[in-house]
Amino acid sequence: MSDASLNTQDFSNDASFGDFFALLKPRVMSLVVFTAFVGLLVAPTSVHPFVGFASILFIAIGGGASGALNMWWEADVDAVMKRTQNRPIPAGKVTAGEAKAFGITLAVMAVVMLGLAANLVAAGILAFTIFFYVVVYTMGLKRVTPQNIVIGGAAGAFPPMIGWAVATGGISIESVLMFSIIFMWTPPHFWALALFMNDDYTKAGIPMLPVVRGRRSTRVHILVYTLLLAPVAVGAAFTSIGGPVYLVAAVVLNLWFITGAVKIWRRNEDAAIADKYSAERKFFRVSLLYLFLHFGALLAEAVLRNFGLGGW
């Protein structure tokens, strides 16, 4: 008898460093970094640049950790949907257990480090954001209610509030308005996507609005949320973070967004199928620009204010 044995285990699917990085949802992270950065810069108090940099990094890692935990919980659904089939867990690169351990470790580290680098208020909001996204949204409501996007939107809306808290150590009307802009923007943004990606969600059994309530109702919902979003976005112009540049940008962008929503509302399914959802796709693209330019305008106001311009 010999002690020698052949190891027949297949290592061809061994995870690379990049696979673990992909668990952090880098694209979502870029939105988190940008909005947190704006929240930090528009605040009336300044922080040491290195502390600011480290804080944004920990906010991004916290956001990434919730992405990893989301992928751990959603592995079964991700395997069914075309858009998510190549994620590390359904692709067999990373096991669900690894993703869970990775996510929890990073989440705890990010919250503790943000608390040490900035303050406990910022760390507290980050901890609540991770809890809200992973437990309330992913585990609790995503597969239960067609309003899942509205609730999930709240998690994505916290980063500018955390950035603001890093600088000021508190919460104020300005940070609540920045939160509200992303919160109100998320439903029309995702419902437009759901209108032309409906098959994927149907297959995965996720109760997205078009699947449960139908497309007509989704179109109405998009319009209503877009109309409710406008006063919030324009209203921010009259706070300490706003100014004429932001006001002009907000008015133009909201008129553009509302026009798109009205177009979607007036269309029926036959028209949408005939031109392969071109209005819905365009609205989705505009929505990305909408958010980016709103926060870009807030940033511009903050920069101008440094030169004695900007603001009211």
Binding site: F11, D14, A15, S16, F17, H48, P49, F50, V51, A54, L57, L116, A117
Partner: protein
């Protein structure tokens, strides 16, 4: 069959280990940088060790 020292798997594992190593190094640099930044901004570094000493006792009112 010759025993091959370097398998493709080793290369992949090496890149992963290198990634983890560099991340940890970056973390050390980050904590060091944070410490320097905090000291520059004059954050309170002296904690209470339960024994009275001049630097932590309140100043006496001047007469």
């Amino acid at each position: 069959m010759a025993i091959v020292k370097e398998h493709e798997l080793h290369k992949r594992r090496f890149s992963r280990n290198m990634g983890v190593g560099l991340t940890l190094l970056a973390f050390v640099a980050l904590v060091y940088g944070l410490t320097v930044a905090k000291m520059q901004t004059g954050d309170m570094m002296e904690a209470n060790d339960h024994s009275p000493r001049v630097s932590v006792t309140p100043a006496e009112p001047s007469e």
